[in-house]
């Protein structure tokens, strides 16, 4: 089926033309790239913009007095403003650039967790979390003597909020860490509800939006979160850039994370004081071009429209789930399309997920296989790994058809 008949307002052929990678041929065929949840492809707007930046505006930021330094600083800070608008945040003081989503989450765990948590406190993560929003909390809980609690899920992979009552009996709830969209099975979590629950207990909510920010409109105030983490490379930007949004009063009161240049106000043998926000959390030379590139990606996404992207991916998800339901031996994990992002994770009875991915590769279909950095979720489902197809603005129903064709190939080999 051609993408021209896809019942959405996105002009996918035009979008695909913006992504040079689709001019490549793999095993003689156009790439059916179904691994954007892992990392997305990049449009020319970002690629060419980065080259131009390096050619005309590059220097270190915040310290050069010459004109090039001003251009670079303006580009870097301009990107911060674009991210602020994207998230609906009040101030660029609340937008901290990090290396990736993992570092954004670790920043909160170390800077807030290590100094705020202690015996009698409870930190809650969930069974669906990516390891980067699970392991740091488990670790700082252990280091500080707090209790680490894992909120479970039901058979469909949806969080079981009733368990919160039992978790609450274990001590004082201080922080809840959860993702907006699960990267391994696609569940959209009821973040607003959980954040409201946490707020009633004067606990903080940390939202991992790495899988949500690329695909839907976010608003930090609506989410009710205290911290939100995202990562640039999954949203058309370069790798090496992530974002932490945090409420200003929390960031202000927090201990620093990395220490060194740029994050200080003054240093002497006796005492060092911290720079203002957000520099306090950006020690050393930051990912300058990467931040600029993320800003370009935000431009591109905003231009296409995140609402339209979400609708397009929903359409592909519905279609993929319908098709996979007819495929022999295939079981799809996770909730119905209404409560999932553009992610479809499945197993096939005759083959291991890595062998599935390998055979799909020979059909020019790129998917991810493995535990997706969510081992607790895999354990919950009693499986070691899944094969995962994930969608983005450049995918078509044809890509889904190619997936199904590849799965027929898997049957032919292993069935």
């Amino acid at each position: 089926m051609s993408s021209l008949t896809t019942p959405t307002a996105l002009d996918v052929p035009r979008i695909r033309a913006d992504f040079p990678v689709f001019e490549e041929r793999f095993n003689g065929r156009e790439l059916a790239f179904l691994d954007s949840a892992n990392s997305s492809q990049k449009p020319r707007h970002v690629l060419e913009g980065l080259t131009e930046f390096y050619e005309h505006s590059y220097s270190n930021v915040h310290r050069a007095v010459y004109e090039l330094g001003e251009r670079a600083t303006a580009a870097y800070e301009g990107a911060r403003e674009k991210v602020r608008v994207l998230l609906g945040a009040d101030s660029t003081r609340e937008i901290v650039f990090t290396r990736n989503g993992t570092e954004a989450l670790n920043l909160v765990a170390y800077a807030w967790g290590l100094s705020e948590l202690g015996p009698g406190d409870v930190v809650v993560s969930t069974v669906l979390e990516h390891h980067s929003n699970f392991v740091p909390w488990q670790y700082v809980a252990k280091r500080s003597g707090a209790e680490f609690a894992m909120l479970g899920a039901d058979a469909a992979g949806e969080l079981d909020l009733e368990q919160l009552d039992e978790i609450e009996r274990r001590g004082r709830i201080r922080l809840v860490a959860l993702g907006l969209i699960s990267n391994s099975i696609g569940t959209v979590n009821p973040v607003e509800e959980v954040a409201a629950w946490a707020r009633e207990r004067e606990a903080l909510t940390v939202v991992d939006a790495c899988q949500a920010a690329p695909h839907r409109q976010l608003d930090v105030a609506t989410l009710g979160a205290d911290f939100v983490a995202l990562t640039g490379h999954k949203m058309l930007g370069p790798s090496g850039i992530g974002v932490l949004w945090g409420r200003q009063e929390l960031l202000s009161a927090m201990e620093p994370f990395n220490l060194g240049g740029e994050m200080i106000r003054s240093v002497s043998e006796r005492e060092t004081t911290w720079n203002e926000l957000p520099n306090k959390f950006e020690a050393g030379t930051p990912p300058i071009a990467q931040a600029y590139g993320l800003g370009l990606a935000v431009d591109y996404l905003t231009n296409v429209g995140l609402d339209r992207i979400e609708a397009h991916e929903h359409d592909l998800t519905v279609y993929a789930m319908e098709q996979l339901a007819t495929a022999e031996g295939v079981s799809v994990l996770g909730p119905p399309p209404e409560r999932r992002g553009g992610i479809v994770s499945f197993t096939i009875d005759c083959a291991h997920p890595h062998d599935v991915a390998q055979i799909l590769d020979s059909h020019g279909v790129a998917v991810r296989a493995g535990h997706h950095c969510t081992q607790p979720a895999m354990e919950h489902f009693g499986i070691p790994a899944t094969t995962r197809a994930s969608f983005y603005l450049y995918n078509t129903r044809e890509d889904v058809d190619r997936l199904l064709e590849g799965l027929a190939g898997v049957r032919a080999t292993f069935g």
């Binding site: 291991h352 890595h354 390998q358 590769d361 493995g370 070691p384 790994a385």
Partner: protein, 138 residues
Amino acid sequence: MSDLYRELILDHYKNPRNHGELDPCDAHAQGQNPLCGDDVSITMNFSGDDVSEIRFTGRGCAISQAAASMLMELVEGKTVAEVAELPKEELLDEIGVPLAKNPARLKCALLSLGVVKLALHRARGTALPEEWAGFEER
């Protein structure tokens, strides 16, 4: 790339040789490949200087499990010294599919051999060569 799944590999995957566990055994080790979640456990018995019996259990992708099965045939009846020296290439030749361009899958293919080396090292004190050092940390 599908030539990865040539007939012989699929045959070993579907009908693994020497599958099981020796109890009691003279040597045992287990190893995982975090990428695929492959898991291989190997037990051996010695008779004099020979590896007289060897069995494996495991789960994971076809490459890792077929390679383990092929390794059983390679190892059984060899001397401990021969197995301790057994080069990767010999197992890779046996597997006979192009993995050079695919370092991730190479790890799957070599998992069982690393586990065998570790088991020998622990039971007989034979040196664990540098290239297998990672296995000891797991």
